[in-house]
Amino acid sequence: MVEFKNVTKIFNGPKGKVTALDKVSLSVQPGEFLAVCGPSGCGKTTLLLAAGGLMRPSNGQVNLDGSDPYGMSPEMRSKMRARMIGFVFQQFHLIPYLTVRQNILAPSLALPTKEADQRARELISRFGLDDRAGHVPAQISTGQRQRTALARALLNKPKIILADEPTGNLDERNANIVLGYLSQYVAEGGCALLVTHDTRTAAHSTRSLKMSQGRLLE
């Protein structure tokens, strides 16, 4: 599903060049929940953004479902993201003025489908957000926010979930709920790439890798 072949990403920082990814190669297949663990600044988020078609690598190749997203036009890349990828972030990144329901439905604007409303209702029910569907993010708890973010990521039935520290702002109970949902999604045939500095999260994954200074360690 997602394949990295010798992917290198170099940034031009104020103190010279910084190698965020150093010849990274990996593969995540359907039914697989890969957790990449490492300290802050080791290149985890860069790995995730490169996988999501949001950051072109300096070298190497990224394949998403057999296609190179960076070989596509920006429009095609956007469509591909809407169709194939669901993002979950540590800061949730919900749109503050939309209700829970509208936030969950937001990806349907990028990929309109007839069943979007039905799917949103299902996800709201599944994630226990029925009584909060009409609330804006500021009116719900952090756990509910992350569940909303996860529901949004799942709306278009993506082939892969890319999660960046999804439990970083959650207590243990809510973290377990969110990771449980991710495991369930993988068990249903999806695949997930999760990056975290919390090694406990790795317990929910099917496979875990460590990352340090832009390199993957087995």
Partner: protein
């Protein structure tokens, strides 16, 4: 969910910025429509003032014309019929004619059927020494008016001097201490003072009038006169009247000449024309003043309005940049979940379009109010000059509804481009 939901929810969420943007458009459109309304009201006021002035002038001219008609009707033309051999220069130098003609000429004229003259006043004039009073005076003998028998009989314009009486000019009776009823001797003959004239400021002040027959006796000029005053010559047209009268009198009395005495009619006609010209000049002066005032206001508007519009455009641009900065993460996440650049652009530009439409709509009415208020402050009497409905210009309304959204969209264009060009990866990585 439709993209409109995101648009409207965002507008409601950041309503202060949106309201501020609308306010900027209102100011821009309001300044334009305000300036145009002010100029329109200025034009209407100018028209009103000029109409009033013209109406006033017309009234004044009508009154003058009427007065002129009455005056000329009353005065008509006075002509002096003199013996043909009379030297006119000599007449003007001496102040009285020195040549003589038969008194019978008056009767001939009166019976001739002449139609342009109503009355004839024969006179015998001579500068004499008044030995009893040791004065030099002009003595005029007159017998009163001889009516034109072929015209409607009218009341005499000049009362005749009765035999045995004398009428004295102001300079004579005042200096000699004479009053009406006093007895006075002239060339050895006694006369009763019949009338003492008020001061006229002319040679009349040193003139004495007695009956023509007595004057002829005293001056030894029996049966002679040296002037006939033709009074109330009909005044149909000022230009060629004199020539017509001359021709007619010359036909009847070939041994005479005619000179004009009554210049008042011409003077009044000239005065009337002059008043008319003055009134027209006053209207013209007012028109020039109003035109200059309009030019000044036009110049002021031409400088101020673009400045205000540019300032408002910058204001909207800054608000848009601020909005983009606030929504940086939002845009990043939208791009991450698959929103296309066109959709992000639509969200921003639609907002500016709505801002422009609302601002334009409100700005037109604000401008109408502003222009009207300014006109009331700057102009004197704006009562009933134009209602708000009359000032409303559908063309301008349409123009503002088109240009105001354009202004807002153009102002927000750069920030929008900035928004869609920012790299979502940078934003998400930073967060």
């Amino acid at each position: 969910m439709k993209i409109w939901h995101i648009l409207t929810r965002e507008i409601l969420h950041r309503w202060r910025g949106f309201a501020s943007g609308i306010f900027a458009v209102v100011i821009a459109v309001g300044s334009l429509t305000g300036a145009l309304t002010l100029l329109k009201l200025h034009d209407l006021q100018t028209q009103k003032i000029l109409n009033e002035k013209e109406e006033e002038t017309e009234k004044k001219m009508a009154v003058l014309k009427d007065e002129m008609r009455k005056a000329t009707l009353k005065l008509m033309f006075n002509l002096l019929i003199l013996p043909k051999q009379q030297d006119i220069r000599d007449l003007h130098m001496k102040g009285y004619p020195s040549e003589y003609m038969p008194e019978e000429y008056v009767t001939r004229l009166a019976n001739s059927g002449i139609i342009v003259v109503r009355h004839f006043l024969p006179s015998l004039q001579q500068r004499i020494k008044w030995p009893e009073k040791n004065r030099t005076i002009t003595l005029i003998g007159t017998r009163g008016e001889v009516p034109n028998l072929h015209k409607d009989p009218r009341k005499p314009l000049v009362q005749p001097v009765l035999p045995g009486t004398i009428v004295l000019g102001y300079g004579l009776h005042y200096s000699l201490g004479l009053h009406t009823g006093d007895k006075v001797k002239l060339l050895g003959r006694e006369f009763t003072v019949h009338k003492c004239h008020e001061e006229r400021g002319s040679k009349d002040d040193y003139t004495a009038w007695i009956h023509l027959s007595q004057a002829q006796e005293l001056l030894d000029k029996q049966g002679l006169i040296n002037a006939i005053l033709a009074l109330e010559c009909i005044c149909e047209g000022v230009e060629d009247l004199l020539e017509k009268v001359r021709e007619e009198i010359r036909r009847i009395l070939p041994e005479t000449q005619v000179i004009e005495m009554g210049t008042k009619a011409i003077a009044r006609a000239e005065a009337r024309a002059k008043v008319g010209q003055e009134a027209e000049l006053a209207v013209e002066r007012e028109r020039r003043h109003r035109t200059q005032m309009r030019s000044e206001r036009e110049f002021f508007a031409a400088v101020l309005v673009p400045l205000v519009i540019v300032a408002c455009a910058v204001w909207i641009g800054l608000l848009a940049f601020n909005n983009v900065r606030d929504r940086k993460v939002e845009i990043g996440i939208q791009r991450a979940i698959g929103f296309r650049a066109g959709q992000i652009m639509f969200l921003f530009l639609s907002k500016f379009l709505i801002m422009g439409l609302l601002g334009g709509f409100l700005g037109i009415f604000a401008g109408l109010g502003l222009g009207r208020w300014l006109a009331i402050v700057l102009e004197d009497d704006m009562e009933g000059i134009a209602t708000a409905g009359e000032l409303f210009n559908p063309g301008l309304f349409l123009l503002c509804l088109i240009t105001a959204p354009m202004l807002a969209v153009i102002s927000g264009w750069l920030p929008t481009i900035f928004a869609i060009r920012q790299d979502p990866a940078d934003v998400l990585r930073e967060e």
